[in-house]
């Protein structure tokens, strides 16, 4: 826990502890002084009241003795009153002393003095009464005052013993108070020594802590200063590199600015071309409609061709049927000719002539059959050609349909192209606008880069200053280490 406290906290703690000890020592001194004063006051009070009271008792006794002697001498009532007053004062003083005195011996002596005074008074009273009756001092012997003398001595002895006793008490109290004061002085001295020792200990500990912690901190500061110096040097070189890089950046940004302006011009030209493309595409839409109509007409024509070719095929079929009929007739003619030849062979000479005719007929029939066969072959060729043509035409029709579909696709694509061209036009305008904004931004970046280059140069300068400051701080740390007594590391 102590290690985590700051040096200021430790310093405050040490000073606080010293202050507390000082306050404690002061309080103890005050208390000791108070005790000494109190005991001395008590001694003085005892001395003043006890010894003085005892002396006053002696004085009052002596004054009463003097007063009643004066009365006895001149019998004046004044002295009698004074004697009575003295006695009353004596008794009052005794009562006062009884409250003041604490020593039992002194109190016993006081009681004895009071008793002696009472006996003295009792012995004096008949004398005073007899004085009242005396008118002349020649009869002094009649007073018979011999008994008063011993009582008076006893009283004086008792008072003297009391005085001696009170003096003895005062002396004892003075010694006791002196002892008490001496004890208080010792206590104060001990506390003072303790406070000084603790202050010295705290000072030593604080000094050690100061040396240790401040030394370590200053050592850290020194190493950090060295690192800071190195970093500042590195920063300075980095600042130089950065400054050169910033110059390159500024140059590049200038080129970028030029390129950006060229892009903006190109974007403007592209925008114009896109608008022209859009116009051309919208013109192409009408052409597409015309082409679509042409394709529909071609489809109709192809259908008609197919119909005509099918009709041609049908006619060819009919011709083929007729050719078959001719062929059949030729065959029948041939058979008839053969049969005629057979019949003619049995008819003699005329039969032979008829056979010639029949042979001619048969030849004609053969030729007819051959021609019919050729017609048949031609018709087959025609039918094949018709079929081929129909198939080709149907393929053509399908191709036309496919072409129409592809043309529809192409039309859709073309219209989508028109839309895309419109979108491209808008995008190109946006690009143009963006490029202009970009040009403005690049100009701002150029300004900012110039500022940054300037700041970089300033940073380089400040890094150099920082390096110098770090070096200075390092030397200051060394001096501070010397100051705190740790020494240079």
């Amino acid at each position: 826990m102590m290690a985590r406290r700051t040096f200021g906290t430790k310093l405050a703690g040490g000073f606080g502890l010293t202050v507390v000890l000082t306050l404690l020592m002061g309080a103890a001194s005050v208390a000791a002084l108070n005790v000494a004063v109190h005991t001395k006051d008590k001694v003085i009070s005892t001395a003043t009241q006890g010894v003085t009271g005892a002396h006053r008792l002696a004085t009052l006794a002596e004054r009463r003795i003097g007063d009643y002697r004066a009365y006895l001498l001149n019998g004046s009532q004044q002295y009698l009153d004074l004697t009575n007053a003295d006695r009353a004062q004596f008794l009052q003083e005794v009562a006062g002393l009884r409250t003041v005195l604490t020593d039992p011996t002194a109190l016993a002596l006081l009681d004895r003095a009071a008793a002696a005074e009472a006996e003295h008074a009792a012995a004096l009273a008949p004398v005073i009464e007899r004085r009242k009756t005396l008118t002349s001092l020649r009869n002094i012997a009649e007073l018979n005052a011999a008994a008063v003398g011993p009582k008076r001595q006893q009283l004086e002895q008792a008072i003297a013993a009391l005085v001696a006793r009170t003096r003895t008490d005062v002396e004892a109290a003075r010694k006791a108070s002196s002892r008490t004061a001496t004890q208080a002085i010792v206590v104060v001295c001990v506390l003072g020594v303790l406070a000084i020792a603790s202050a010295a200990l705290i000072a030593v500990r604080l000094s050690r802590g100061l040396r240790r912690e401040v030394g370590a901190a200053v050592g850290h500061i020194q190493s950090s200063s060295a690192q800071l110096e190195a970093a500042a040097a590195q920063q300075a070189s980095g600042g130089r590199d950065q400054a050169s890089a910033m110059n390159e950046i500024t140059t590049t940004i200038s080129e970028l600015l030029i390129t950006s302006r060229q892009i903006a011009d190109s974007a403007g030209r592209v925008s114009k071309i896109a608008e022209e493309t859009l116009d051309a595409a919208q013109g192409g839409d009408a052409t597409i409609d015309q082409t679509r109509q042409s394709i529909a007409a071609i489809r109709t024509q192809v259908d008609q061709i197919v119909q005509h070719m099918l009709a041609l095929g049908e006619k060819s079929q009919q011709i083929g049927g007729i050719a078959d009929l001719v062929s059949e007739l030729a065959e029948q003619t041939n058979i008839l000719a053969i049969n005629a030849t057979i019949e003619a062979s049995g008819a003699g000479e005329w039969g032979r002539r008829f056979a010639v005719v029949a042979e001619e007929i048969r030849k004609l029939a053969d030729r007819t059959a051959g021609s019919a066969k050729e017609i048949r072959a031609l018709i087959e060729d025609v039918r094949g050609a018709v079929n081929t043509t129909v198939m080709a035409t149907e393929i053509g029709a399908k191709a036309v349909d496919a072409g129409a579909r592809q043309f529809d696709d192409a039309t859709n694509s073309f219209r989508r192209i028109v839309q895309l061209v419109a979108t491209t036009n808008e995008s190109t305008r946006e690009i143009e606008l963006s490029t202009k904004q970009q040009t403005t931004a690049v100009e701002q970046v150029n300004v900012a880069a110039s500022d940054t280059a300037r700041v970089t140069r300033e940073t380089e300068v400040s890094a150099v200053q920082t390096r110098q400051t770090a070096s200075h701080l390092s030397s200051l740390s060394g001096e501070l280490l010397d100051l705190v007594g740790t020494g240079r590391r």
């Binding site: 065959e331 057979i342 062979s345 002539r353």
Partner: protein
């Protein structure tokens, strides 16, 4: 010129030639066939080429309805009517020993009695050949073929109708004596 035009020109030329030949035929002197020539029918029976002497026939008919008859003879196709007479029809290919399943189209009526019709599949034509082109063969033997003839399409065996009639009679189980020629039988002409 394109092929159709060539073909049309060829047809026109052929037409002109035919017309000229036909017209010229009226200017020719009357002629008759020489005696040393034979009239032959070139036929196909069972896919094979044969020849028939026209003089042994009395008529050629295509596509005549033949009414089948039940019987053990596969060669007997049935009967057909010719000039009010019921005539048995035999398959020439079966008689020649190589029957085929498809039905013959042509019928040739054999000369002589009793009436007999021979059926064959195809008629190639009617030819006249010199007698020297025919290699004759003796009129004996069990088969129908008697001799051969050399024609432009190749040499064909000649089916002798009389021998075929004899084969039919044998098949029908008639006595050989019954197979003697009818008095009214036409003599074979040369």
């Amino acid at each position: 010129m394109s092929p159709p035009a060539d073909r049309a020109a060829a047809v026109s030329a052929k037409l002109v030639a035919l017309r000229d030949e036909f017209d010229a035929s009226f200017a020719l002197p009357l002629r008759r066939h020489d005696d040393n020539q034979d009239e032959l029918l070139t036929i196909r029976a069972g896919g094979r080429a044969y020849a028939l002497r026209l003089s042994q026939t009395s008529g050629l008919f295509p596509d005549r309805p033949v009414t089948p008859l039940p019987g053990p003879l596969p060669a007997l196709l049935g009967v057909a009517g010719f000039g009010g007479a019921i005539t048995p029809v035999y398959d020439l290919a079966a008689l020649l020993g190589h029957p085929v399943p498809n039905r013959p189209r042509w019928l040739v009526l054999a000369a002589g009695t009793p009436p007999l019709a021979l059926a064959f599949h195809d008629l190639d034509g009617h030819v006249r050949v010199r007698s020297g082109a025919i290699v004759a063969e003796a009129q004996t033997g069990a088969g129908c073929v008697r001799g051969m003839v050399t024609l432009p399409g190749g040499t064909r065996p000649i089916v002798d109708v009389t021998a075929a009639r004899a084969v039919v009679h044998r098949l029908a189980g008639q006595h050989r004596g019954d197979a003697a020629p009818h008095p009214t039988d036409v003599k074979e002409r040369t």
